[in-house]
């Protein structure tokens, strides 16, 4: 088994594993970058305290994105070409492509997108890929704070009355399926390479199981929301009520379409990218 193997650079990995890990890091970097951008747009949150917290979370996400972009450099040195800076090459979670319509979309993403990112990153805690292992602890510590904010707002909105609760449900449902898919397609080449090399500690089904075990109690039991998720009466295990459809799913991009962020968002990213991310220099 791969238990004792360790990899210090992309050169140590075989070609399919190197590509799979590069794809994962780029997905994480782009998703955190776009999440940071969206969080930062909410200086108009319902309360000044929430605005300040949003900006603090934006700052964290940009920092995490910078770390993951930094990991890509060595992959480029190992022969993987740099991606072209066009929207269709962006690998952010598709729910971040365009500006959020309401604070409810903010909270839905704060709960689900931040949560899925955390579950994915937790699976790298004991990674055989040494450079990522070093940065995971600090990221997860900051994510714990994001979860506290998400949880606080979710419960507040869910208990504020029938209307805000229904609106919140709608916002959660808008990203529900692509988000669960975002954790990966069962049996994909990508997850097989990452799990076999000991880079990630479980496959996509394992990640989804962790995700619903963590969020089932909060969404269904505490918040009383109506989502396709329930716990088995006998085993207590959380199960998804809907089967995920993998048609058009792209394993490398973790998206159903390669459209990338909308033109307005891309203009913002572009101007930001020009400043470069000087990691470790």
């Amino acid at each position: 088994m791969s238990r004792n193997r360790e990899f210090s650079t992309p050169h140590d990995l075989d070609e399919p594993t190197r590509q799979a890990l590069y794809d994962l890091f780029l997905v994480l970097a782009d998703t955190k970058h776009l999440l940071g951008l969206r969080y930062g747009e909410w200086l108009g949150a319902p309360a000044i305290e929430a605005s300040i917290a949003s900006v603090a979370m934006a700052q964290d996400e940009f920092g995490h994105a910078r770390l993951f972009y930094g990991l890509l450099r060595e992959f480029h040195e190992a022969g993987i070409p740099e991606r072209e800076e066009v929207p269709s090459e962006y690998r952010n979670f598709e729910g971040l492509d365009r500006v959020w319509d309401s604070w409810l979309d903010f909270i839905a993403a704060n709960v689900l997108v931040d949560g899925a990112l955390s579950v994915q990153i937790e699976s790298l805690q004991n990674s055989s890929y040494v450079p990522v292992r070093r940065m995971v602890a600090k990221i997860l510590q900051e994510e714990a704070f994001h979860h506290q904010h998400a949880r606080g707002w979710l419960l507040r909105l869910a208990r504020e009355g029938a209307k805000p609760k229904a609106e919140l449900e709608k916002a959660l449902k808008r990203i529900w399926e692509p988000l669960l898919q975002w954790l990966g397609r069962p049996g994909s080449e990508h997850e097989r390479a990452l799990v076999e090399a000991g880079i990630q500690d479980t496959d996509s089904e394992g990640l989804r199981a962790r995700f619903i075990e963590r969020f089932g109690p909060l969404l269904i039991e505490e918040a009383g929301l109506d989502l396709p998720l329930s716990s088995d009466a006998i085993t207590g295990q959380w199960v998804l009520g809907t089967a995920l459809s993998w048609e058009d799913w792209d394993d490398a991009f973790r998206r159903r379409s390669r459209t990338g962020p909308d033109p307005e968002t891309f203009r913002q990213i572009e101007s930001f990218r020009k400043h470069e991310y000087p990691v470790g220099s």
């Binding site: 305290e49 929430a50 917290a53 603090a56 979370m57 506290q148 904010h149 606080g152 507040r156």
Partner: protein
């Protein structure tokens, strides 16, 4: 401004120091009290920060119940 109740915030910067009161925050629940406290009181490099609802502080001497000092 947020609505809700008042939470008292305690923090320290070094292990050898005790937690000391640094301020308050108003929030509708405990999770948001912690989230707000952490993002608002972020100038100092705290190693520990705790919040507690003011109503959970147990009164030993209450305002207005003691005689003014002689």
């Amino acid at each position: 401004m947020e609505f809700g109740e008042v939470y008292e915030i305690f923090a320290r910067q070094r292990r050898v120091e005790p937690l000391k009161h640094i301020g308050t925050v108003v929030a509708p629940n405990e999770d948001l009290a912690a989230a707000y406290a952490r993002s608002i009181y972020n100038e100092e490099p705290w190693i520990e920060m705790r919040v507690v609802a003011r109503r959970h502080l147990i009164p030993a001497i209450e305002l207005g119940t003691t005689r003014s000092p002689a």
